[in-house]
Symmetry: C2
Subunit: 336 residues, 2 copies
């Protein structure tokens, strides 16, 4: 392995007969050098394939042109799409992204926050996950932006989210308008604002349409199995217990799909006997049969808005708004 000795700014300086300061000026277009010098230096740079060592630069400038992205699970399509958009945006702006999967483990998340700090990332973008951010990180002054994660406390963290309340409301409303009266909600145990907002939307829609709330239809799934499995099993169980329902609002598409499968296994016709609405708009909702009616999140906009705000903070500019809520849309498909 011929680990070629990297050529440094010093080498370029020597080779082109100027000082390192001048080379630095040429590289960074800082003026204060002659045309003639520029040509000479650039020639040498090209000739020796010099590229600036970002570690040195980072140390000197105490910034890294790197953004840390904290995400529960990159293999979750919703998050993967957001990360894709983030990466594209940051790349255009000259930033790299460090990807940090937490698997929802608080410890791993905390570890990553420390790592990101020690690597002097310029900003941190958190997608989903727990509501509270480690105090230590907040006090470092590293700008933080969140997507679909409403950070606790009145700190200077920016966040962008879909209108989960509205989503819950229109999902439920859609079911009601299709004639459902006994609407189950498949929500999550964890008391994240995302969950409670969707639940509130559901409850308010019921109230507005004069449908009494049935507590036995408010289901909180655990965290042990996949969303798909949890939902399938619980719906299966509800059917066996002969609990009456004619509509299901599943607070994500995989849960909706799990419900669909449970119904099909029990020969309950969808959408004839039971209707379903999901949430997120990931591909399973589009490609299963029947395709699932869902509440579409605008992943691209979510990513772009958050990234944009974060970069503003990184550059020390004032952000116009600390909290952005994006609309969601009902996509009607086969299950309603």
């Amino acid at each position: 392995m011929r680990a070629k000795k990297k050529v440094s700014i010093k080498d370029i300086a020597r080779l082109s007969g100027v000082s390192v300061a001048t080379v630095s000026r040429v590289i960074n277009q800082n003026g204060r050098f002659s045309e003639e010098t520029r040509r000479r230096v650039e020639k040498v740079i090209k000739e020796y394939h010099y590229t600036t060592n970002m570690t040195g630069k980072s140390l000197r400038e105490s910034k890294s042109n790197t953004i840390g992205v904290i995400v529960p699970d990159i293999s979750n399509e919703l998050f993967a799409e957001i990360v894709l958009e983030l990466e594209k945006y940051f790349f255009r702006k000259g930033y790299s992204v460090l990807i940090c999967n937490t698997n929802e483990e608080e410890q791993k998340e905390a570890a990553y926050f420390r790592i990101l700090e020690s690597k002097t990332v310029d900003g941190i973008l958190c997608i989903s996950g727990s509501e509270d951010l480690p105090q230590e990180v907040l006090s470092t002054g590293i700008p933080i932006a969140c997507i679909d994660r409403r950070p606790k406390g009145k700190n200077e963290v920016v966040y962008v989210e879909s209108d989960h309340y509205l989503g819950g409301y229109i999902a439920t409303e859609a079911l009601i308008k299709k004639g459902c009266r006994d609407i189950m909600i498949l929500s999550k145990q964890r008391a994240l604002s995302v969950n409670t907002q969707r639940l509130n939307g559901y409850l308010d829609a019921l109230r507005d349409y004069g449908i009494p709330r049935r507590d036995d239809l408010v289901v909180h799934l655990g965290d042990d199995l996949s969303n798909f499995q949890e939902a399938r099993d619980i719906v299966f169980y509800m059917i066996k217990k002969k609990i009456r329902f004619d509509g299901i609002f599943a607070t994500n598409d995989w849960r909706a799909y799990g419900a669909l499968v449970a119904l099909q296994q029990n020969n309950i016709a969808v959408p004839e006997q039971v209707k379903i609405v999901g949430f997120d708009g990931v591909s399973v909702s589009e490609f299963c049969y029947p395709a699932i009616t869902t509440i579409q999140q605008n992943k691209k906009e979510l990513a772009l808005k958050a990234a944009h705000l974060l970069l503003k903070m990184v550059k020390g500019e004032t952000v116009p708004q600390r909290h952005v809520v994006l609309p969601v849309a009902l996509v009607e498909r086969g299950t309603t």
Copy 2:
């Protein structure tokens, strides 16, 4: 924004009344300090929440404890799952991962190679994508490992891949054994080894079973639309042209699903009239209806093997094997 001044090793040294060298020794457990000193230093470190600045360390040691992962598109489930495993593994080993989407753009890939080099990543892991690696990068001596991407040339790049030839063979064989005689292959235009190997497996299976090859059934999809759309459209077209076929080997699951949809739109029964086998084993194959028989790639093993080899190279150890081929498995489902 109270951008707290970070406490450095110098501060710790001053505060605990020793030299920075000693603090460094304590931190890195390098011996050469007394118990008493250790206690004092560690106390101060804890008290002031000191964490080492990795940029300084990286500069000094010319390594960054960071791995660059180059991937065509992180929102592709296959890649996302591999990246997830990579991240988990590298995290355990104390490395962070920089994610680099190329969108199959050569330019972006080249740019990323340069960036990774300038950030002195310790290693680069390339998933899929083009066969040739930029010469510049190879000459830097940064260890490189590839997954499902067979690098051209006899350089010291390690690669791990699924047995794509075998996959193509058993996919085709499965169709033949179910009675198919006119088997279409939906392959890709780009002459990547992944594609040619799968194609070769297909051709050899036909030959071994004495089935004459029909060139009109060897279809090479372009890059313009999504795999799903390209496949759906071309199969639709083949049906309209009344080209005779009773089996389809789609070289990935989304293409298989596209084919399935085209057949269903034309009221052709699957698997009764036409059978389909996909490739990869991503969720669409499992959740569409009927579920698609597919060739499963062992994503986790792919990731682990490659990451393991890469880390060996990073540490300067000799790698036992430069080229690893992992088995694939036929998963029989509803389309055969």
